[in-house]
Symmetry: C2
């Protein structure tokens, strides 16, 4: 048993060599630390002669973003590894394969997906991913259904939920998403250019009530094993393939939190493109693509989730009473609410998104922030009345028009 | 470390002697096995010379009621012991003291409460307990508040919920309360005299929809550490004292399940007394007492729960938005629904109550069963529209009049 220490690149290469059946025995290997997250080291060990590779992800015992002052349990590496294995079982091909998990090093050795790019980067570049909605809809439908009381034995679900109690990473979410944005927290990172909008958030009682309800749902609704951080920076894409990565925030929570995360990050790009694309026609077209994608993500998810229910729902009572018809509308409401929270925190909270922060022009960047904030707060306030996914698009278009004057 | 085996009375005496400070050293002791539950041995070790005693409760690895064919985890003894300790910390004096827990024997050694009687027995005898509502209201307010996200650190609450994952005993509830009564399950125990009413339950789609919603809440709403089986057979009383015992069903679930359990068992006695008390004036008076008690249980609970919130609620967001004013009305709805489910299962399901089954006259017993069933189903159907605890009394009076013709 090795004692925990951050791996060196040489150690990463040695570990990669020990995985059978991936790299060529004896081949020359190179290693780069490519982590762009805040919590982990990520080593990419590559065999230049063939292009084959292996990824080694090691949890750090603190959050890099705030130095060593924010200690985090290394147990999250186990959670990530176990979540990837479960997700890979129920949603094959939609997550990286896990080759090995080394508990004492908090190290997961897994499939190299470097032929993919981070979806956030792809969207910033204006790329379209026509298969994305179907893929991520399938990923969410299958992972959420088959880890819920609908799709697995209810006693085994309870035991499984016990293996995904994830207090440290849940606390990050509870603070950064459901608390800090709504007061003058020292954790916040608000651009002075939109300070008036940020201050308005802190004084909006109707908004706080709606956020409190969503916060309490996050704390208590143990519906399914969530990815827990399903933004476009946690999704690898090619035109043909979609892979959800980095489920270290996995825990049993409300399903709408995952669906809302995907939609929120499409909305953030939607807001951002107003400060990125100069050509009005191109902007209109790309926003129409993003809006269609949002509607499709929900529809693909809902269609598949209902199909899984029809085929696999095991619970006699729930099935006989067609509980799904009560459940899905509530899930849509949660999706609106959590999408809104996830948009807001990316504008005024600690962690931003490159879609918006990367806009070079100060005025356009501030405008995009205001657009996003208006969409996010409108979604939160509307969530209990949400009836159709189309209403997200109406809100996005309305708030964009109001702020961009188009 | 002793190997698990059911204790003999001699072993129970030996263990009782080893507890310091309770019994007189060297005194003569007698032992009786007094378990009237289905899942445990309960030894009462008594010192006849002084009346002092100790209770030893040992979990059996199967449910007695169905022979050895229903295996149960002995882990429930740990859960019961840990729950009693937590409840004793936050609601002092309202549960028996735990002297020792012996994991390898699944044995809890605790305070002798044989000066108390089981409340169900007291109510059957027509006794009134004027302090009961305040005591049980305080027990529920304090145990539910201080184990919830409102009253404890939210990360510690997550860890604590992991120690109360209780699949075996939750399955008993899920089957016996939320499933069997609504179909022709072989587990059911339905009197042929009310078979028409029982069959009507099985075909009532509106009822099944409401039960499904409550079932799903039981499966997913991790609000607080529930007692989990808080009927009047799990409550010891004297005119001055109330003690909640036997929390082996403890788990993190919806708060309304505990509050509903108490109210359901008052309603079952309410229905039963129509077949027990011959004197109309006495019956009217005792039912008025029970109705007042139901209203008081809720009011005492709500008043204390809100007071705890005002004094102790730690969550900035929830507190700032006064989330309690959204939470309590939903909790009242859950209380109606779970109370209804708990009444219904005691009439057509596996486990009945002596209040009703002990009625000697066949016709009066059947009438009481019909009264209870009508109250239970009305509560379940009404639960989402419940606005005030007084509506429970209106439903009870209406359904009683209709079935008793008074």
């Amino acid at each position: 048993m090795e004692q925990y220490h951050p791996l060196t690149e040489a150690e990463a290469i040695e570990k990669a060599r020990s995985i059978p059946g991936v790299l060529t025995p004896g081949a020359e290997l190179v290693c780069n630390e490519i982590g762009d997250g805040n919590l982990n080291l990520v080593f990419h060990v590559k065999e230049p002669a063939t292009g084959k590779g292996i990824i080694l992800k090691q949890a750090l015992p603190y959050a890099k973003v705030v130095g060593e002052s924010w200690p985090l349990s290394l147990d999250r590496a186990r959670i990530e590894s176990e979540a990837l294995i479960i997700q890979g079982n129920v949603a094959p091909g939609l997550v990286p394969k896990v080759y090995e998990y080394v508990p004492e090093l908090a190290l997961t050795v897994m499939e190299d997906l470097s032929d993919h790019i981070i979806m956030r980067k792809g969207l910033i570049e204006g790329n379209k991913y026509p298969l994305f909605a179907a893929h991520i809809g399938e990923f969410m439908a299958r992972t959420l259904f088959f880890t819920s009381d609908f799709g697995m034995n209810q006693q085994e679900k309870k035991r499984q939920s016990g293996r995904f109690i994830n207090p440290d990473l849940c606390k990050i979410t509870e603070d950064l998403i459901f608390d800090d944005p709504y007061w003058d927290s020292p954790n916040n990172n608000t651009s002075p250019a939109i300070l008036d909008d940020a201050v308005a958030l802190r004084n909006d009682k109707e908004l706080h009530e709606a956020v409190s309800r969503l916060r309490y749902g996050f704390l208590t609704k143990g519906q399914a094993l969530l990815h827990g951080d399903l933004h476009t920076g946690s999704i690898f894409v090619t035109p043909e393939s979609t892979k959800a990565i980095d489920p270290e925030f996995a825990f049993y929570g409300p399903m709408g939190f995952d669906v809302g995360a995907v939609i929120a990050n499409l909305l953030l790009n939607y807001a951002a493109q107003g400060g990125r694309m100069n050509d009005a026609e191109k902007l209109r077209d790309f926003r129409a693509y993003l809006a269609d994608t949002i509607v499709q993500v929900w529809n693909e998810f809902e269609t598949r989730f209902r199909a899984l229910w029809n085929e696999h729902a095991a619970d006699r009572m729930l099935r006989a009473s067609n509980y799904i018809d009560e459940f899905v509308p509530e899930l849509l409401q949660d999706t609106f609410g959590y999408a809104g929270c996830k948009v807001v925190r990316r504008i005024v909270g600690l962690a931003h998104v490159a879609d918006i922060d990367g806009i070079e022009d100060d005025a356009l960047r501030a405008r995009a922030q205001r657009v996003a904030l208006a969409i996010g707060t409108a979604l939160i306030k509307h969530h209990r009345n949400a009836k159709s996914i189309q209403e997200i698009i109406e809100i996005a278009e309305r708030e964009t028009s109001a702020k961009e004057g188009i």
